[in-house]
């Protein structure tokens, strides 16, 4: 056998482990008993706790994007296309990616730390001996909740981002709210919305999966918990960019056809 460099080896190992963890999720995700109550609770926690952060970043994102782009558009005499331009940029790319990255930081690290400390303090073992499958109760519910809630958070960020952009436009260019959003929705086709929504489910899944994987398999001691939270964010963020690239690639191929 050819000896791979140590770094590459552990990288491949980790990728394999995450894939195995994902398979374990799919094996159990559709099997009874379902933990509906815990799923709802997680949806609420994940959605509600990140909502403010997501809205704040979305709003600022809209402001900044409009302020930055506007002078250039004026130069080209295309300032009337501002709503279209900003709409496509936010809905297709910036909204999903920025929101997902924020959520990787907030939700991913939270799940990593929570499950990590449950592992270290034997709470997961305690669940197991009291007849509840901890993988189902803790992991499956959290991954589902992330997958379901992230698209909603992204839609919220998109909407508030567009609103922020509108505020700049209306102060500088005197556009009405209806006119602005009419132009935005004219510019957006189904082909923009569908891939964007589609990939946001994958983003949610990735954040939940990596957070749970890191927490659930965390090492011993408080050090292990810290590392679980930290690496959850790093790995999830990386994975988000890979997924985004794949999504764009696939969407591009579909457009060609």
């Amino acid at each position: 056998m050819i000896a791979l460099p140590k770094g590459l080896q552990s990288y491949l190992n980790e990728t394999g482990n995450i894939a195995a963890f994902a398979i374990r999720f799919f094996r159990q995700a559709f099997k009874k008993p379902f933990e509906f109550k815990e799923l709802l609770r997680q949806c609420y926690l994940i959605g509600y706790k990140s909502l403010f952060l997501v809205i704040a970043t979305g709003f600022i994102m809209g402001l900044v994007l409009t302020l930055q782009v506007r002078p250039t558009m004026i130069e080209f005499g295309a300032v009337s296309y501002m709503p279209q331009m900003v709409g496509i940029a936010i809905v297709r790319e910036i909204g999903p990616v920025v929101t997902a990255l924020i959520c990787a930081g907030k939700i991913g690290s939270g799940i990593g730390a929570e499950l990590g400390s449950m592992k270290v303090t034997e709470q997961i073992d305690a669940m197991e001996v009291s007849g509840t499958n901890p993988f189902k109760y803790l992991v499956v519910t959290r991954i589902w909740a992330c997958t379901l809630m992230l698209p909603l958070l992204i839609i919220a960020a998109d909407a508030i981002g567009l609103f922020g952009s509108f505020l700049i436009e209306t102060t500088k260019g005197n556009v009405s709210l209806t006119l602005y959003f009419n132009q935005v929705f004219d510019a957006l086709s189904f082909g923009d919305l569908l891939p964007a929504t589609f990939k946001s489910f994958f983003f949610g899944f990735a954040i939940g999966l990596v957070g749970c994987y890191k927490g659930y398999t965390s090492g011993k001691g408080t050090e292990g918990v810290g590392r679980a939270a930290n690496t959850a964010v790093v790995v999830a963020s990386l994975l988000l960019f890979v997924l985004d690239f794949l999504a764009v690639l696939v969407a591009d191929i579909i457009y060609e056809i």
Binding site: E114, S117, M118, T121, E122, Q123, D125, A126, M127, E128, V129, S130, G131, T132
Partner: protein
């Protein structure tokens, strides 16, 4: 059904069946050979203390008994049934007969005391048929003297209170056997003694048998009917406190020296 029950009764009269039987159990983590042929038997109404240095594999040993750790080799039987051969459902059933008190109490941080006690009941409601959930919870809390803590969060409890709540959660399914993983670790001597008295009270009231892991010699002396010293991955020495305290072996004496020097 009836005939096998009769047979069970007969055989238990002839020679008492051990509730727990471990024979030649081996377990390694990579090159770390933790258990190398461990034998343990636990009989009804017995309190057996397992002594061992930290890292000697005590927690691994009792986790084998409830299937939290898979053994590499050997026999592990609980209530006459082999643990390694069990399917998930059988394992869940046998786990209701075996209570487990974890080392750091392992209360669920995100749940109130009430929800903590409810948790074992959610999958085993049928075992507690005909009994009201609320009554069971309050009853369990009364046993440990903490009825008033029912709506508190674990973060609001002291170490000793956490241990008691954990004990109540262990007792709620009325197990026949209780496994205690260092029940007094991290507690001050007075609180530790309260926990020891509680363990003795529970054994008297419910006729349970217990395996108690500890490296606290005072606890071991008060609580044990019999002691097993886990050293080098085997049951190095066995006997009552009295018997073991007279053994001249240096490794056994080391456990007793610690007490005298304190």
């Amino acid at each position: 059904m009836i005939s096998t029950q009769n047979e069970n009764i007969k055989s238990s009269i002839q020679s008492p069946q051990p509730l727990i039987r471990m024979k030649g159990v081996k377990k390694s983590f990579g090159s770390n050979h933790v258990l190398r042929g461990m034998n343990v038997e636990l009989y009804p109404r017995e309190n057996v203390v397992i002594l061992g240095k930290s890292g000697s594999g005590k927690s691994v040993l009792i986790k084998c008994l409830v299937g939290l750790v898979e053994i590499d080799e050997g026999i592990v039987e609980v209530l006459g049934k082999s643990i390694p051969d069990m399917q998930q459902e059988e394992l869940d059933a046998i786990r209701t007969e075996v209570g487990f008190l974890f080392q750091g109490s392992a209360l669920y941080d995100s749940m109130t005391v009430r929800e903590n006690l409810q948790f074992p009941l959610r999958r085993h409601a049928e075992r507690m048929k005909g009994q009201d959930e609320n009554t069971l919870i309050i009853e369990a809390l009364k046993n440990v003297g903490l009825e008033y803590a029912i709506d508190l969060m674990p973060a609001e409890l002291s170490g000793g209170m956490k241990r008691r709540i954990a004990l109540a959660r262990t007792l709620i399914l009325q197990p026949k056997i209780i496994l205690y993983d260092e029940p007094t670790s991290g507690l001050d001597p007075i609180t530790a003694n309260e926990i020891i008295q509680l363990i003795l009270k529970i054994q008297r009231e419910f006729d349970t048998a217990a395996l108690i892991i500890t490296h606290d010699m005072d606890c071991a002396r008060v609580i044990s009917n019999r002691m097993i010293i886990l050293q080098d991955g085997i049951n190095y020495a066995e006997g009552t406190y009295e018997e073991l305290s007279h053994i001249q072996d240096p490794k056994v004496k080391a456990f007793f020296k610690e007490v005298q020097s304190r």
